[in-house]
Symmetry: C2
Subunit: 393 residues, 2 copies
């Protein structure tokens, strides 16, 4: 019997709490507000089918061959073109989804014990991507507009313990749905520059706004001090696994080397198909249809919460875009325990605890409104309210 | 100006020597035997085009959605079915090319300073994938049949310094083209079991045999002690980035967690397209055509070497499959210097030094015969011989 000795880091690695919950809750009859899946109604199936055909007939042999690590030139150019600040295609690295960007950033910047600042709460998948590199993620106190500048400065650390970077998700954050205000963005960028802390800005949901475009990205305010991450998963389709990083020239080379060691390059075929789909302004026509779809569902969820939670000591965020909102239960109520009661009543959510780097607030939970119809939303939120009432002493 | 502090590992990371050479040598008029690209003639374009169509029309919404980390069930089953030992689909993890499998294995098993045994020489991309995890790769003396068992045992190390694993490429090795004999395979498996050293068996070329099937894989001889890696890059097309790992149940979960943190999952669409292409025994009909193509080119290269190197102190391997052969130049002749002279004469190769974990044999080089026609092979090998003659004092 061979015994396998694992790396130290392997003991710290875990399966995503969300994916484990999905296994329990993705069954017929359950109204799931747990997942983070985009609605399949938003996938442009006809355009993809046509683009696959075009790419295969026109560039088949190239699309099926190995290609450069940095990515397909036309797609890098398209990304540079649609971003709202001056970006050179040479700074764009195409990644296998934006999850891979998190892995590469961690690989290049985080040693064992490196301090990394995150929001309270933060995106669970980022914590999961960082974990194998054994950093110390430190939560920064955050309000409805994101990180509080004073606590950001207080948590930065000094000397060898100074934070390597701060990871933030300014638009319609996962999990809370909150958006950083223009003033807070500028204050964070200014403070980060003053304290010499690189920022990592994750923006998978930025195009899914419902009441006007969000303020300028952090990267647009200080391109040399910010690594920006974007994704095609929420505006086209996640199953192709296409994301990108925009990085300052000083660190672009190292990220590319890390990418090459990790998987050589993102599938050439997928890059060409997406470049084909989005040319001629397709996203400008397509994304508004996703916004309209999700906005109606967000409205339904906010209305249902207003109605069903009346009289209960429950708060929730009012996202102006994205896919999620965040619920705070009465103090002392444990969302993990509540989940069992909710599933019994036919609905599922994700408990909030795994989204905290430390000191989880266990009375929080995340709801997604994108894969459920308005009718399901009404029924699901009523079930949630019933579960909360049953749990209230 | 923000200054970015890199992780210690980042200083050790480098761009692939091959990819750097390709940038210099991939220009019109150069006959390149440097690349490791499969011949685009071997890509089944019609079948892919049809499969894209079928998958999009039948399963479009699912193929474009997020999916499970482990991989598409039908593809995992297909892999389990075509391997020549008893494999459960539960042990098959679909990866983003087999390069990613190397990254995941390193992430799960290698700490900073961990000893890992490799062949002399070994696959450069494996060294590159391991590097970010800062192990100490140790070359094991190898002959035409692979690792020498005596040196394997001598290099294993003891206590905390005991090797975490040994990485081997038994079939038509990259870079040497050599194949482990049946006896050597059994001896290595037996010795590894005796010394309790896990083996990692990389088999991207195994189906490309020209004179009969190679001996049984190492994993078939001791499934609990071997992680097996395979790829669709050489038998279908590399641009889809599809590989797989077969791992013992005891470590499968950790590899899956590492995969999830790295990129969530391999593109659902690509997995479904390949599953569609290979169902109904397509590979059984297709792979023989690749074998015939490459065999003719290998024969042309062996004949050209025989003719052009007559009278020179030059040796080369005689691969019975795969894509590469390995040339030893006269003692003291530096292949890196020879490359300049060869490019001037219109051909390119990869110098052998980067394929060694330590103590490189600088008088070696790798030739690929798969993307060059027999006529180009004759001309290229004549140019190589001329360069060698010009370099001989």
């Amino acid at each position: 019997m061979t015994s396998w000795t694992l790396a130290d880091r392997a003991a710290k690695m875990n399966s995503s709490a969300i994916r484990e919950i999905l296994k329990l809750t993705d069954r017929p009859g359950i109204i799931s507000m747990a997942g983070g899946l985009p609605s399949p109604k938003s996938f442009p199936l006809d355009e993809f089918t046509k683009a696959c055909q075009t790419v295969m007939l026109r560039d088949g042999a190239t699309a099926l061959q190995y290609s450069t690590t940095e990515g397909f030139a036309d797609l890098r150019q398209a990304v540079a073109d649609f971003l709202p600040w001056d970006v050179s295609p040479d700074q764009v690295l195409i990644t296998s989804g934006s999850q891979q960007a998190l892995d590469l950033i961690a690989k290049v910047f985080l040693d064992r014990g490196s301090r990394v600042l995150v929001e309270k709460p933060t995106y669970l998948g980022a914590l999961q991507a960082f974990t194998p590199f054994e950093p110390v993620p430190v939560g920064v106190d955050s309000d409805d507009e994101g990180m509080l500048i004073e606590d950001f400065a207080a948590q930065v650390g000094t000397g060898a313990d100074k934070a390597r970077l701060a990871y933030v998700l300014p638009n319609f954050q996962n999990p809370t749905g909150r958006t950083m205000s223009d003033a807070r963005r500028q204050a964070l960028v200014d403070k980060a520059r003053e304290l010499n802390i690189p920022l990592v800005e994750d923006n998978p949901y930025g195009d899914l706004w419902y009441e006007g475009e969000p303020p300028l990205p952090l990267a647009a305010r200080n391109p040399e001090g910010v690594i920006y991450m974007g994704s095609f998963s929420k505006v086209l389709a996640p199953g192709l696994r296409l994301g990108f990083v925009v990085a300052p020239k000083s660190v672009f080379g190292k990220l590319t080397q890390a990418k090459q060691a990790a998987d050589l390059h993102t599938p050439s075929f997928n890059q060409r198909v997406v470049a084909e789909v989005i040319k001629d302004g397709f996203l400008d026509r397509h994304v508004p249809t996703i916004r309209a779809l999700y906005k109606a569902q967000r409205d339904a969820m906010l209305a249902a919460l207003e109605r069903e939670m009346a009289g209960l000591d429950v708060q929730w965020t009012r996202p102006v875009g994205g896919m999620f909102l965040w619920v705070s239960l009465p103090q002392g109520m444990d969302a993990q325990q509540l989940l069992t009661a909710a599933v019994e009543r036919g609905m599922a959510f994700v408990p909030g605890a795994p989204f905290y780097a430390q000191e989880p607030q266990t009375n929080t939970l995340r709801l997604s409104y994108v894969t459920v119809s308005p009718a399901q939303i009404e029924q699901g939120i009523a079930a949630l309210a019933a579960a909360i009432k049953a749990h209230t002493p």
